[in-house]
Subunit: 512 residues, 2 copies
């Protein structure tokens, strides 16, 4: 199930052993003009709101180094509260690149975060998994590895993000070592590291350096990995996230800042207020990073949704989620920052509800001009479950989005208008047999991986599998047939030795 | 389950007996800028292609009256083939109104077809139904009535379109009489009539007139109903469709012209060619209608999708379908015509696949600026099945689209930016309790009808119903609790007498 050798690209769906045909690796280019619900004065109002929050109310940084940096920058620091002016924030944000690459150990898997690119990341951080045979259960390392195999196999997944499930059968002190080693060996794609303490971040950077066969200077010269940090909404940044972000930024690695502002809970019940709060939190951290490491690669994350009015629980894939994502997209372009959003849902199993919620999220990602789409495959139960079936079904939707963005679909040259073929077939004829069809037939349309397009009777005669059952079968076959991407044995040995040494040293402290 | 009395509108979700809360009746206004994949030269290329088809290749009209009209208009008629110049087509199309109302027997249910309005129509024309208990079976009148009840109950369904299932237990000669009578008594919404022979169209118009308590002049002064006609792609219009369209147009009733151009089968394998062919077919019929009845209300329909490369069967909700719909939307705006598209899928049951395909279709309807969305609730198996469960699930998605289009979501006034609330809550507080939340809480977010937003454990403890099971329960409850909308007994009597008389006369000939 490995992809093509490095340096080669297929222009056609790649048929592999096991007859698994999928679309080729490609970073889709989103040519759609973004959906922009805000008029210019709406953008200005939200910007002014975010700046007023940072100027008049301030935000807590529970990190002494950050406080010292803000003092040095001339911001007003009282206790942990930091207040800063719009001029400072604007000047710092302007230092950020509009777009940046991340180059993993396989350079053919490089992604560009920014511009019109849209990069898909696997599900990250659920504590549990669910599949149709075993039901819901706590995460373990074996399941973690299965998700990494799916992450590697699917060409439409570009980045191995956070842990698809939390492997609680590994002690937290050394969990990051086994997990990052598994990511780096089972995949050759861009990896993420959690900002959960100095040792974890430094270990991750060292392991990525080793896996890439890089010198320290080579590692630092361009982004090789990234971290994603969350604020503690409302208006607080904790110690380890800011610490990890500073370490990554100073090492030239990517940092995405994603406040989790749930309207009506950790943020105002009105979407504009929730977005303004989210921006204040994100921009203050980005300003910090740009002061500490000018020009470092950063992205603006959005995770603004609403609560369920009945239970107070988060709801995802809602109309409010879509609009908040689009509004944040407008703000990201206003600030010239890459945008991260998500492919999320509230549903507990990969049924109809899961897919309309996920479709809403993913189309909002497209409409907002998102550059990085987290949780794009495999997410359920508001992020409490990762599911292999959902992973496969989401990849079908992602492939369709990739196909949707191919310029050939909307080409209008003489060959596409096809007047000769129309004249040839005339009235009441059929296009199957004409030469215009025959030469284009095989590549003309999207070919699905998990959809069943047979009629009801043929589908029923073949066992009447629903989408979940089909996806279960596909996921199992892909995991069973998995072959890891090639890795130089010397590098594999060096990586294993690093993990062994750090385990012997005790790993990371677990009292954070 | 009846709606509010005429003339009153609720600004809040309407809670009815049986605790079925739904969004109020409203015609959504689509404020999103359409997604436009074609540059101006692409629009010109497709227009030129359609005009070249009509000028050089021609289109067959198997209707002598139509041929006589085209001759009178100066078009080149040879046998059934009609060729016409761009000037003629353009001049005729320019006669069509950009938007028109349709007023049913309950004037509060009037819809506007055009502008930025988006009107949702129930599933139309499947021969079969499917539900989770009875499986797939041929349509019958009882099932037809059940779908009409769902059509009436859901506020997000604005129009009672064609037959949700074909009731084969009623003789075709009199089927239209029972079906239209059922539509007119079980719903008070806009109804559609099939153009399948003179008697059926004339009977439908007379029944709509009677149900509205209208004189013949009142019936004709503004659209009270509509028909939808399909061409026989490629490049052919048959007798009864054109006959019915002419009858409706001359009576001032709406006509939607919807070619069914499946790329690779009845149309070129390239989307631009399929769209150009579709436009040639539609515009030629619209030109005919505008010559015969200048200014008559018409709409441009699109039903361009692709075939499954494996089986040759139609596939819906594909990337190709989405782009073809968006491209046709650009052309509809170029011609100044209202656009009809659809909410369609290929899946056989209302599972995950059904909903990503339907979501793709419905978001394409939004992105294309569609004014009338056929099959918006209940469609399965490429149109061969209508399902009550799918109907309920689709209505959830339609309600979310309606909610998505409410301007309040993206408002950015001081009350929405909410600086006072943000200052009040500060760092690390919670927004549940603050006054800003409390006064807005109940109406702040979308409240679902069929989604389950509980966590996994609560959902499992309550029976672990999947989306299909929940929708099944909801559909049954709505059908059982159904109360028809009020109708003046004298009108009901007149309608019944008309049906009885026409049945005694033998209905319509069945040899078409």
């Amino acid at each position: 199930m490995n992809d093509l050798p490095h340096g080669r690209r297929s222009r056609r769906p790649h048929r592999q052993a096991g007859a698994f045909a999928q679309m080729p690796w490609r970073i889709p280019v989103n040519t759609d003009r973004p959906t922009e619900p805000l008029p210019p004065e709406g953008v200005a109002a939200i910007h002014d709101g975010a700046m007023a929050i940072l100027r008049d109310i301030g935000i807590e940084f529970l990190n002494d180094e950050a406080l010292a940096i803000f003092r040095q920058a001339g911001c007003r620091v009282e206790g942990a509260n930091v207040r800063m002016d719009a001029d400072f924030v604007t000047e710092m944000v302007a230092r950020a690149p509009a777009s940046f690459p991340i180059t993993p150990r396989n350079p053919d898997r490089r992604v560009e975060v920014g511009g019109r690119h849209i990069v898909f990341v696997n599900v990250s951080s659920p504590p549990n998994s669910w599949d149709m045979v075993r039901g819901k259960r706590s995460g373990d390392f074996s399941t973690f590895q299965d998700f990494m195999k799916l992450t590697q196999v699917f060409n439409c997944i570009h980045v191995a993000g956070g842990y698809p499930v939390e492997p609680i059968d590994i002690h937290p002190a050394i969990r990051h070592l086994d997990c990052i080693a598994a990511k780096l060996t089972l995949t050759d794609k861009v990896v993420h590291a959690y900002s959960l303490g100095r040792e974890r971040v430094e270990d991750a950077m060292e392991m990525v350096r080793i896996a890439g066969g890089l010198t320290d200077a080579q590692f630092r010269e361009t982004p090789r990995m990234y971290t994603n940090i969350n604020s503690v909404s409302p208006l607080k940044h904790d110690f380890p996230m800011i610490d990890g972000a500073l370490r990554c930024a100073r090492a030239g690695q990517g940092v995405i800042v994603t406040p989790f502002t749930l309207a009506g809970a950790m943020a105002p019940v009105t979407l504009a207020g929730a977005v303004a709060l989210s921006l204040a939190e994100a921009l203050s951290a980005i300003a910090l990073l740009q002061f500490a490491a000018p020009g470092c690669p950063v992205g603006l994350g959005t995770f603004t949704s609403n609560v369920d009015m009945k239970s107070g629980a988060p709801a995802f894939g809602t109309p409010e989620y879509m609009r908040a994502t689009q509004m944040t997209g407008q703000m990201a372009r206003f600030y010239g920052l890459p945008l991260r959003s998500s492919g999320v849902c509230t549903a507990n199993i990969p049924d109809a509800q899961a897919m309309w919620e996920t479709s809403n999220s993913l189309w909002a990602a497209v409409q907002s001009g998102s550059n990085l789409v987290y949780h794009a495959a495999g997410w359920l139960e508001g992020g409490l479950i990762a599911s292999p079936e959902k992973f496969v079904l989401d990849c079908e939707v992602l492939q369709m989005i990739q196909r949707y963005m191919e310029p050939s679909l909307t080409a209008t040259g003489p060959d596409e208008i096809a007047l000769d073929a129309i004249a040839e077939v005339g009235s009441g004829g059929h296009y199957f047999g004409c030469a215009h069809t025959q030469v284009r037939y095989e590549q003309a349309f999207y070919a699905p991986i998990a959809s069943d397009w047979r009629n009801f009777e043929a589908w029923e005669a073949a066992g009447a599998e629903d989408s979940i059952a089909r996806a279960h079968r596909i996921a199992n076959a892909l995991i069973e047939g998995f072959e890891p991407p090639p890795m130089d044995p010397a590098i594999a040995e060096e990586l294993a030795a690093f993990v062994a040494r750090r385990k012997a040293e005790g790993g990371a402290p677990t009292d954070f």
